[in-house]
């Protein structure tokens, strides 16, 4: 059975919505920092696809004047200009996240978001000189062997 134009657009809308949903799920569920960054990239790709789709006309051609009289109606150029900007924003944020991840792995030794939250909480409490709240869901959390915890955190841990 042949698919007529409106189906093309619903397929693409489903694709963009699927990408946003998969990206959001990845952000909500995954534990590894790199997977979170990839999921953020997916969600941004989905939003970009939706924005380009917003300017699409079924029977229109690309907005490039090719010398000959403009063949038919042209696609709306404004969403394409906006998506150009937002793709490059996405990759800028991604490069920044990778740089931060390298530093975090060097300092905390872990890239698991839940362990990181626990270590961050202990670090802030240690810097402020207070006992980390016992409400952390794994009270006697021992960081994986071989992680070089900043010295002060380790020391207050024993003395508290």
């Amino acid at each position: 059975m042949t698919l007529n134009p409106p189906d093309l657009i619903t397929i693409l809308a489903a694709g963009s919505v699927g990408l946003i949903a998969i990206g959001t799920i990845g952000l909500a569920v995954s534990r590894h920092l790199l997977r979170l960054v990839l999921a953020l990239g997916l969600a941004e790709a989905g939003a970009n696809l939706l924005l380009v789709l917003a300017g699409y006309r079924w029977d229109a051609v690309a907005p490039i004047l090719t010398g000959a009289a403009p063949a038919g109606a042209m696609v709306d150029p404004i969403p394409q200009a906006l998506v150009l900007t937002s793709i490059v924003i996405g990759v800028g944020v991604q490069a920044l996240a990778v740089a931060l991840m390298i530093r975090i792995k060097a300092a905390y030794g872990t890239l698991d978001i839940r362990e990181l939250k626990v270590l961050l909480e202990r670090d802030i409490c240690a810097e402020a000189g207070i006992v980390p709240p016992s409400s952390i869901h794994r009270p006697n959390y021992q960081p994986p062997p071989g992680t070089a915890l900043p010295a002060r955190v380790a020391s207050t841990g024993e003395s508290a």
Partner: protein, 225 residues
């Protein structure tokens, strides 16, 4: 149990978003401003690629913001990766394999040419400063990967970056000082489709291409250290 909960959350979210997207008049969205730009570009700006006209002329300050976002991201990544201000100790790198060395000798000039082609034809064919800048950054990065002794001089890259960024704003300010408005297209529009056309747009895209190329080359070099 965890997987099931996330699956249900996924289906619910997809269903909600699909309901939202189904209501959108996609395919027949109102094109008030877009149609107006399609008519006015050939005469007013003279660039064959109308998206370039929107990116650089009608919405020029968006692109300046975009350029600055990439500058901010690259600066912060550089600051995070080498807090000592670029004097990071460079691990001894040995030469890459024969394939990459031979390949990079062949690829470097080609990539450079393609990169500059995309940047300089931004107002005629699809492409422009951002895409060409990425290709230029790839060209420098391939040669950096292949040869161990090839060290990226961060100071020279940041100089190109600063000069190109200042040139972009300078062209905009020239329009402002010349009595027009900021980032008003200067010079005559020439005939649509000719290489020298669309006034100051090619110059702006050249500045964008150089800046993006230098920034991303130094970012990749920082990451690869």
């Amino acid at each position: 149990m965890h997987k099931l909960a996330s699956l249900l959350f996924a289906l619910g979210l997809a269903f909600l978003l699909m309901g939202l997207a189904a209501q959108l008049p996609l395919g027949a969205t109102p094109m008030g401003i877009g149609a107006d730009i399609l008519q006015r570009t050939p005469s007013e700006i003279g660039s064959a690629n109308i998206v370039t006209a929107v990116v650089l002329a009608y919405r020029g300050i968006d692109t300046l913001g975009e350029l600055t976002i990439l500058f901010a991201a690259a600066t912060t990544a550089g600051m995070v990766l080498s807090p000592a201000g670029g004097a990071a100790v460079r691990k001894a790198r040995e030469d890459a394999g024969l394939v990459l060395r031979a390949g990079s000798d062949l690829l470097f000039p080609l990539l450079l040419m393609v990169g500059f082609y995309i940047v300089l034809h931004g107002h005629l064919t699809p492409g422009g400063g951002f895409q060409g800048g990425v290709v230029l950054a790839a060209a420098f990065f391939v040669s950096f990967l292949a040869r161990a002794e090839k060290q990226p001089s961060h100071s020279c890259l940041s100089l190109i970056e600063a000069v190109a960024g200042a040139a972009f704003i300078g062209i905009g300010l020239a329009a402002l000082l010349g009595g027009g408005a900021f980032l008003q297209p200067l010079l005559e529009t020439g005939s649509v489709g000719a290489l020298i056309s669309a006034g100051s747009l090619p110059l702006l895209y050249l500045a964008v291409g150089l800046k993006v190329g230098a920034e991303l080359a130094s970012l990749l070099a920082h990451l690869a250290e």
